[in-house]
Structure formats: C-alpha cells, structure tokens
C-alpha cells in the first residue's frame, strides 16, 4: 500500500533546487569548521555555485512541472518564477556580503549556510500547494532570517533587530497557524486546490472562512510588512546589517507575497468579495504610511525600510485588482523591486564603514565626485525606486496600475500615483546628496570598491535597466504563468 506513496524521479526533479541548496548548505557548514581564516572566500564562492546550480535545477524542474510529493508542492510557472527570483536575490546578496563579512571579521561559513537554508524555505514557499508546506517553509525562511538579522552578536542594533523580528514574527506566525487550524477544521483539508473546491461549493459558512482567511492574512501581512502589520520593518531593516536588510526586504518578502497571492487568489477566491475592500484599504494605508513617514527620515537604511512598506502597498494594489494581469504585475513588480532595492542597500553597505557608522543621507554627500560609477548606479536604483521610465521600477508601477484600472480601481490608482510622486521627494534627497553637495567625511575616506561589490551593483543595475527597457521576456513569462492562479 506504500506503493502509490513511493516518490518517483519526477518528484525529486521538481524538488531538486531545494535539495541542492540544502546539500550545499550542509557542505559549507562542514567546511567552515575545517577551513582557515584566509580561504573563507571559497565558502562564499561555493555558496554562489550552489545557488547557480539551484537556479539551473529550477529551469529543469520547470520542464518537469507538475505536483510532487502527494501535492505537497506544485511546480508551475508561478512557483518557478518566484524560485528563480529568490535565487537571484540570494546570489546578489551573497555577492554584496563578501566585503561586508570581511570588514566585520565575522565567520562567514554559517552566514552563507544560513542564507542557503533560508533560500530553501523561500523556494518551498514559492511552490508549496499545501498549508503545511506554507507553514514550514515560512518558518524555515523566517528562523534563518532571524539569525541573520542578529548575526553580529556583539552589535546591539543587530541584537535588537533580531529580537524584534523574532518575537513579533513568531507572534504573527501564531495567528497564521490559528488561521490554518480553522481552515483545516472548516474544510477538512489544507490543500489549496481542495480548499478552493470546497469553498466554491459554498456549503461552508463564509463567516468562518472569513475568520480563517483573516487570521492567515495577519500572518502573511506581517511577513510582507503591509499596514497595519508594518511596524517591525523599519526597525529591523535599520538594525540588521545592510546586506541582510537587502536580503530580508526582497527574498523572504517576495516568497511571502508569492504564497500570499497563491492562497488568496486560489483558495479564498470564492470569498474575495469579503477581502477585496480590506486589501484596498491596506494597500492605501501602506503606501501612505510608508511614503509619508519616509519623508522625515535621515537614516538611509531606515528610509529604505519605510519605502519597502510603501512598495508592499503597491504590490497589494495588484492583489486588489484580483485578476490575471494583477498577478503578473505583482510578479514583475517584486522582481524589479528586488534588483533595485538590493542595489541600493549594496551601495549603502559600501558607504557604511565598520559597524555601519555612516548610514545617514548626509554621509552619501559628494559620492558623485568620489566614485562616479557607484554614484551613477545608485542614482539609477533611486530613480527606479521613484518609478522613472526606462527603469524596472517604472514599468512595474505602470503595469500594476494598469491592472488596477482594468478592474476600475480609479481612485486607488490616482492615490497610488500621487503617492509615488510624493515619494520622489525623499528619494531625491539621496540624489541631491550624491550629486549636488560637497563630499562628506564618509565619502572622503571611502575604501576602493571591491570586485564582488562592483559585480553586484552592476548586475543589479543591468537588471533594473533590462526590466525597464526590454520587459517583454519577463512580462510574457509572468503573465503566462499567472494563469496558474485561477
């Protein structure tokens, strides 16, 4: 009777990226113990290789797409897209981490291992088709991230950010879990398709479905940091090391959004009349809180933290649209946001000296004169965050709001666009600093940018411009795979 539960090759192919990541993570863990101080770099390279391997495995799994392991996961275009996205995020973050770890004299082995494991969790999230996998994937990615946030255990800001993230994260997870419990009790199953099927029949009391959905909304909303669950984001991003913040604000967030959309667009589609208004409000609130509060920030990391709230709001607009285009738009947006945000954080971590002393906007002053290339790229990232044409940020916003208007969300669109114009104000403070002011002490004694850092920001910049100028490829893939979420 075990026969029909016997996993066959296809299952492993579909799960290959996670397997590879885990394997590499373990290997790195082992090597860390034996390798000496000077060849730590190898571990980094090794993790890069692991990620690349997983990336190709991801493509392979796409060719074998379908459910695996008794519908615990399902490999579809949607899942593959997000797996690829988080892998790219991981790649860029590892690259940016090289010089950071070197600077802080932190033992790098665990760091890379943790990143890989956290990626495992995010890949699981991206492809999970059962709430149990959602729960476990979320925990894997989160716990790894908690540790990364507090990685420098002697740094008070790291501790604090880790504690805040950990306590509040678990708190929110409890809500999510309670929601899962109710879903289970209501439906009798936790398979996403199954939930949809049952709810579509409509015998179940939609009020309790609403309760379940609401409790899960709290959990997801927290992970993607949308109002009213956004509080933690600025503190944590400010406290954690810049590369980690870059990672947290893009990878886990993208994965959480992936599953957020999957659950609400697939399972709770039947009751979307109940949650659309809520999402509408949360989207607007997130944009307003994020942008307005960012106007008065002077710390770049904290500013980016607030901006990440606002961007989560934009993505939520796509959920409000509740349409194929909306999903595709959200996918594109998260991709664009990932590259531009990592780029920005990377430059910040380059400017910030040991113990991240220089993370104020004023510390960026005169970068344009000291390091023209870095400054130019940072400008590109910032303009993309603003949403200036020919950058990924613009096209992402454009596509999101097109989806919104397709669903007649006129006012949300107008308010969102006005928000993005207001946001320009604080983003431009960065451009003003780097190009229109005299060099600051921070930029005066700037170390030469390391090769890995250069690769990272150039790659991010190219990504931004590619998504902005030739979005067709990504867009087609996104809108094709968006149909996975019926």
């Amino acid at each position: 009777m075990l026969g029909n539960f016997q996993p066959h090759a296809g299952d492993y192919v579909r799960f290959l990226p996670e397997i590879l990541l885990t394997a590499f993570g373990i290997v790195i863990m082992m090597l860390e113990a034996v390798s000496s101080e000077k060849n730590k770099l190898r571990l980094g390279v090794l993790s890069l290789i692991g990620i690349i391997a997983a990336f190709f495995a991801n493509f392979w799994s796409y060719s074998e797409s379908g459910p695996a392991f008794q519908n615990m996961i399902v490999v579809d275009g949607y899942g593959v897209f997000f797996r690829g996205l988080v892998l790219i995020v991981g790649f860029l973050c590892v690259l940016t981490s090289f010089s950071y770890l070197e600077r802080e004299h932190a033992q790098s082995g665990e760091y890379y291992a943790l990143i890989l494991f956290s990626l495992v969790g995010q890949c699981v999230l991206a492809t999970s088709s059962d709430l149990i996998m959602v729960f476990i994937g979320l925990e894997i990615s989160s716990i790894a991230t908690y540790v990364l946030a507090g990685f420098l255990r002697d740094d008070r800001r790291n501790n604090e950010s880790a504690l805040k993230y950990f306590l509040l994260g678990s708190f929110a997870t409890a809500f999510l879990l309670y929601g899962i419990a109710w879903t289970y009790g209501l439906i009798g199953s936790t398979n996403l398709e199954e939930i949809r099927r049952v709810l579509d029949q409509g015998q179940r009391p939609t009020v309790l479905a609403g309760l379940a959905a609401g409790l899960m909304f709290v959990g997801f909303g927290f992970k993607v940091s949308i109002a009213p669950f956004q509080m933690w984001a600025p503190d944590v991003y400010q406290g954690a090391a810049a590369p980690v913040s870059a990672f947290m604000s893009t990878g886990p967030k993208a994965a959480a959004f992936a599953v957020f959309f999957r659950v609400f667009m697939t399972s709770f589609h039947a009751i979307n009349g109940r949650w659309l208004w809520l999402v509408w409000g949360c989207a607007l609130a997130s944009m307003i809180i994020g942008n307005f509060a960012a106007l008065v920030q002077s710390n770049v990391k904290r500013l980016l933290g607030y901006s990440s709230i606002a961007h989560a709001g934009y993505v939520l607009v796509a959920l409000t649209a509740a349409s194929q285009i909306g999903v595709a738009a959200a996918m594109f947006y998260l991709a664009a946001y990932a590259v531009m945000n990592i780029g920005a954080f990377a430059v910040v971590s380059h400017i910030a000296a040991r113990n991240e002393r220089h993370v104020k906007i004023d510390d960026l002053a005169g970068l344009g004169r000291r390091e023209p290339a870095t400054a130019a790229l940072l400008a590109i990232f910032v303009f993309s965050l603003i949403g200036v044409p020919l950058t990924g940020g613009f096209f992402a916003k454009f596509y999101i709001f097109q989806a919104a208007l397709n669903s007649h969300l006129v006012w949300l669109t107008v308010l969102g666009l006005v928000n993005s114009a207001i946001a320009a104000y604080y983003y431009l403070k960065i451009v003003v600093a780097i190009y229109m002011r005299e060099p600051s002490p921070a930029t005066e004694q700037l170390p030469a940018p390391s090769a890995s850092f250069r690769v990272a920001i150039w790659a991010s910049a190219l990504g931004v411009l590619f998504l902005g100028i030739f979005p067709s490829a990504v867009l087609s893939f996104a809108s094709a795979s968006a149909s996975a979420l019926r």
Binding site: L167, L168, L215, P228, G273, R274, L295, V296
Partner: protein
C-alpha cells in the same frame, strides 16, 4: 514698377551703416545715408511720373506675408494720390533733414548709429505710407515707433533721454493697443485687412447711426492715432521726446511720424465716413488738443519745447480737419506743417548749434545779427505757422477752419482763437531768441553752409507751399467741400496777426511787461508753465499704483506668500507634518507593535468575518 524698391534703398543704407558704420569714414556714412534716401526720392519721382495721373490706385502685390485659414495678409504696397503726396513729403523733407544732420551731428559720437537709425526710420515710414493693408501699416506704425525710441534715447548716457525714450515707446504702445484691437475687429467684421476689399465691403453698408462695429473699429484705430500723433490724453511723450537730437525732432516729431495718425484716418476715410460718431469725436478731440497744447506753449522757456507743444496743437488742427470730413484739408495742413515745423525745428537746431547746446530762451536774444539766415528763415516759418495771409500755413489752416465754420461754430471759434495763441507763442519765442540783447554767455555763430541750405529750401517751401494744389490734386479721392468762406479766412488771419502784434509789443517794445504779466497771472501761469501737471498726474495715478500693486500685492502677497509659501510649500509642509505624525506609530516598543498587530487582526477578522458582502 516695383514699389518695394522705395523703402528698400533706405533699408540698404541702414544695413550698411548699422553693420559696418563703426569702421566706415564719415564721408562714406554720409554717402550711404543720404544716398539711399536721395535714390528712393528720385525713384519716387520717376515712379510717379510713370503712373501719372494716378486715377486708380497703383497696387504692387508682394509675397504672402501671413496665411492662416481664411486670413491672408500680403506684403502689398499701393500708391494713390494720397500716398503720392505723403511719399513726396516724407522723402523730400526727410532728405533735407538728412543733409542738415550732417552738419548738426558733426561733433557727436555714434555718428553712424544716428544715420543708420534715420535710414531705418525712413524705411518704416515709407512702409507705413505705402502699405495696402492694415497689418502692414501696423508694421510701419510700430517700426517708426521703434526708431523714435532709438533716436530719443540716442544720448543713452543721459537718464532724461532714455527715460523719454521709454515713455515715447510705452505711451505709443498704449495707442497701438487700440490700433491692434482695431485690426482684430476689422478681421472679425470684414474677414480681410486689405484696404481695397474693406472699402468695397463697407461701401455696401449703411452709414451707422450709433456705435456699432464700424464705429468701434474706427474708434479703436483712432486710439492708435491719438498715441502716435500725440493727442489728448496721450500727447505727454512728445514734449519729452525733444531729448532727441534736433534733426530727429524735426523729421520724426514734427514732419512725418507724428502725422501718421492723420494719414491713417485719411487712408481709412471709407470707414470713417460710415462712422459719423467717430468723426465727431476725432474733430472734438482735435480742437481741444489744439487749444490745450497752445496754451502750454505760451509759457515754455525751452525753445524746442515751445515748438513741440505747437506741434501737438497743429496736429490737433489736422485732426479737426479730417474729423470734419475735410480730409484733403487735413492732408494739406499736414504738408505745410511738415514744411514750416521742420523749418522751425531746424532753425531752432541751428540756433542751439550756434549756442553750442543752449536751448533756454532766457539765455538767448539778439541773435539776428550773428545768424541772419537762421533768423530770416525762422521768421518765414513763424509767419507761416501764424497763418499770415500768403504764407503756406494760411491756406491750409484756412481750409480746415472754413470747414469748421460750415460744420460747427464753436469749433471754428476755438480753432481761430488757437490760431491767435499760436501766433503769439511762436513769435514770443522768435523775439526772445533774435531780438533784444544777448543774455547768454556763449559765442554765437551762424551755422555752416550744409545746415543753412536746407533751411533756405524749407523756407521757400513754407512761404510758397500754400500754392501747391494739394486740395485739387486730392479731390478725386476726397471731394472738396465748396464753402471757401471769406469770413472764416478773415477771422483766422486777424487772430493770427493780433497774436503776432501782442507778442511783438510784449517782447520787443516793452520787455518789462512780460514779467508783470507773469506775476499777474500768478497761479494760472505756474499751472500752465507746469503743463497742467499732467505728467505728475499720470505718474501718481497710473505708474506708481501699477508698480506698487505688482510689487506688494501680486509679487510679495500673491506669488510668494499665497501661492508659493501657501499652496506649494504649505502642501509640502502639511505632508511632512503627516509624516512626522505617522512615524510616531513606530514607538520602537515591541509590546506596542504587538498591540498594533492585535488591533489589526481584530480589524481584519471583523471585516472579513462580519462586514464583507458578496462581490
């Protein structure tokens, strides 16, 4: 024949002198300047001879200037009997004054600049005269204004000169405002700007009783004329314009440009004939200006100012004439006035030249011995302007006054009285300058040959100009009104002679009387001497308020405070305020955050569980 060649020659002169004048020798500059005008005068003569007698207007269609929708404006020029007269006046007097200027400007810096400006003026003036449509006329109209500005502020180191220049241009702009509105309304009414087409269109219309389109057009155009020809209330720029070198005053501010208004009305007579109300207004304003300016002229001490006000007054006469429908009379007076007023100015100029810049009558006197030619020519001019029978002024002024005599008595009497005043102040100036003892401290000397020749020529014209049969010549275009009343003749002539006698009595026979009169007049005299304080009035009630409102109400108040600080910065500040309010949520305390999550979860559950309805 190509009419465009007429203005073309002066343009060439302008370009040559303007571009290269700095490097050219004086003789070359003279050659270009004088030559260009002379050539175009010759060309005019040849042209007129060719198309003689000009029974039908000779139109020369140039290129299309503006073409938009139904509206087409071409660079079209026309010569008819009217513009023929005008052409001769402009080119002829212009030439004389150019020649005179050679002598007058000899020692001035910016010699080439002066002549290039003069040529440019000739160009625009000829365009104005020749133009066959309103817009082209407007080009000349504004162009001569430009030249007047340039020449008035010729001594650009002196603030009074540049100030006068600005005043001249801006006041003219006010007039042109009306003129341009007239143009717009013409297009609205007739869908064209071509004189011929308008005339044929209007000829079918009835004469308007009250105020209606055609009247409105004519009135608006007249506003332009008021500005350009210095009538009430826009005359104020002309006296100041005397800051220009004297030849300029003679050419632009006496003989040609200022008469453009009169020319324009004559040119547009087909419209004015249909707007009796406008005609009446023109006449009234003309006669009022005549007397008003004349009274001021009595009390001026600057010789050029005297003649300036007399110009204003004489222009008033012309407007009276055209306003009464006696277009030919107006044009006739325009011509004679061009002669004798140019002569007056040139004479004054030669006096000033002889006194090396002195203009105040109080520092002259007894000059008849040292500069006889100037004295004699000036005497002729004075007699002419006073309308002494036989001299040119007599015939033209008489033509106008007899028209008035027929049309409206009060205008006639006013005009006649003005004639007396005119005679008085002109001769007052003449006697103060040439009789009595020399009161100045320069060494007067007669002007050089180059200057006196034009004086003599103009003197001959002023004397005999009355016998040029302008009225007859124009009669096909402007039918004569057959009421040569001997009464009017007599009265006006009498007034003139009386005026001369009084002047002679006061300033030659009993010089002491003058001061006694002055003291007796007291406040009245000061009022007049200060030109009725009109300038002060304008400054206090137009210029100052405008500037004050702009600076304090609009700029500081509206623009900076209300819009920029209020709207723009205010909005930004409000948003930032919201921002600093919202950041208070981030108290940094984990427990608060948890409480927020709790609140949020409540909201979510509530909305999802209990509120949301089906979509």
């Amino acid at each position: 024949m190509n009419l465009w060649l007429i203005p073309f020659f002066p343009l060439i002169g302008f370009l040559l002198n303007g571009l290269f004048g700095k490097r050219l020798s004086k003789s070359l500059i003279n050659m270009f300047a004088i030559g260009s005008v002379a050539i175009s005068l010759i060309y005019i003569a040849v042209l007129l001879a060719n198309i003689w007698p000009i029974n039908t207007p000779y139109v020369d269609h140039g290129f299309t200037w503006i073409q938009s929708g139904f509206l087409t404006v071409g660079f079209d020029l026309v010569v008819d009997r009217l513009s023929a007269v005008m052409l001769l006046i402009v080119a002829g007097v212009g030439l004389l004054i150019h020649i005179y200027a050679i002598g007058y400007m000899e020692h001035e810096s910016g010699y080439y600049r002066f002549f290039s400006y003069l040529n440019l003026f000739m160009f625009f003036m000829l365009i104005l005269v020749l133009s066959a449509n309103l817009l082209l006329m407007f080009v000349g109209w504004e162009g001569v204004g430009l030249c007047s500005y340039l020449l008035v502020s010729f001594y650009f180191l002196e603030d009074y000169a540049t100030g006068a220049g600005n005043k001249a241009f801006i006041v003219n702009r006010i007039g042109d405002f009306g003129f341009s509105l007239g143009i717009f309304l013409t297009v609205v009414a007739f869908k064209t700007l071509d004189f011929g087409k308008i005339a044929s269109a209007v000829s079918t219309m009835p004469v308007e009783a009250g105020i209606s389109t055609v009247t409105a057009i004519t009135l608006l155009l007249f506003v332009g004329a008021v500005g350009k020809s210095a009538q009430l209330p826009l005359y104020v720029w002309l006296p100041d314009a005397m800051a220009a070198p004297t030849p300029v005053s003679a050419l632009i501010h006496a003989a040609t440009m200022v008469t453009a208004g009169v020319y324009m009305i004559a040119r547009m007579s087909f419209l004015y004939d249909h707007a009796p109300f406008a005609m009446h207004l023109v006449a009234i304003l003309g006669v009022l200006t005549a007397i008003f300016a004349a009274t001021i002229g009595m009390a001026q001490m600057d010789i050029k100012k005297v003649f300036a006000y007399s110009t204003v007054s004489q222009l008033g006469y012309m407007f009276l004439g055209v306003g009464l429908g006696a277009y030919s009379a107006g044009i006739f007076h325009l011509m004679t006035h061009a002669f004798f007023k140019a002569l007056l100015f040139l004479g004054a100029g030669s006096v000033i030249h002889g006194l090396s810049g002195e203009q105040d009558l109080r520092h002259m006197g007894g000059l008849r011995k040292v500069m006889p030619i100037t004295c004699i020519t000036l005497a002729v001019a004075s007699l002419a302007i006073s309308g002494v029978p036989g001299f040119s002024g007599f015939f033209s002024k008489d033509a106008i006054l007899s028209a008035a005599y027929a049309k409206s008595q009060w205008m006639f009497w006013l005009g006649a009285f003005t004639a007396g005043i005119t005679a008085f102040y002109v001769f007052r100036a003449f006697f103060l300058a040439f009789f009595g003892e020399y009161r100045g401290h320069h060494h007067p000397h007669e002007s050089p040959f180059i200057m006196t020749v034009p004086l003599i020529v103009l003197a001959l014209l002023s004397a005999g100009g009355g016998f040029i049969p302008v009225l007859g010549w124009l009669s096909p275009q402007y039918p004569l009104m057959e009421h040569e009343s001997s009464v009017a003749m007599g009265i006006s002539a009498a007034f003139g002679i009386i005026g001369i006698l009084i002047a002679a009595f006061i300033y030659v026979v009993r010089p002491a009387l003058a001061d006694r009169f002055r003291t007796a007049a007291g406040p009245l005299y000061t009022l007049v001497a200060n030109k009725y304080y009109v300038d002060e009035f304008y400054f206090a009630f137009v210029v100052r308020p405008l500037e004050g409102i702009s600076r304090f109400v609009l700029w500081r108040g509206m623009d900076e405070t209300l819009i920029d600080t209020g709207m723009v910065t205010g909005l930004a500040r409000t948003i930032r305020g919201w921002g600093s309010l919202l950041r208070q949520l981030q108290s940094g305390s984990i427990r608060n955050y948890a409480t927020w999550v709790l609140a949020g979860s409540l909201l979510v559950i509530f909305v999802l569980g209990l509120v949301g309805g089906g979509r």
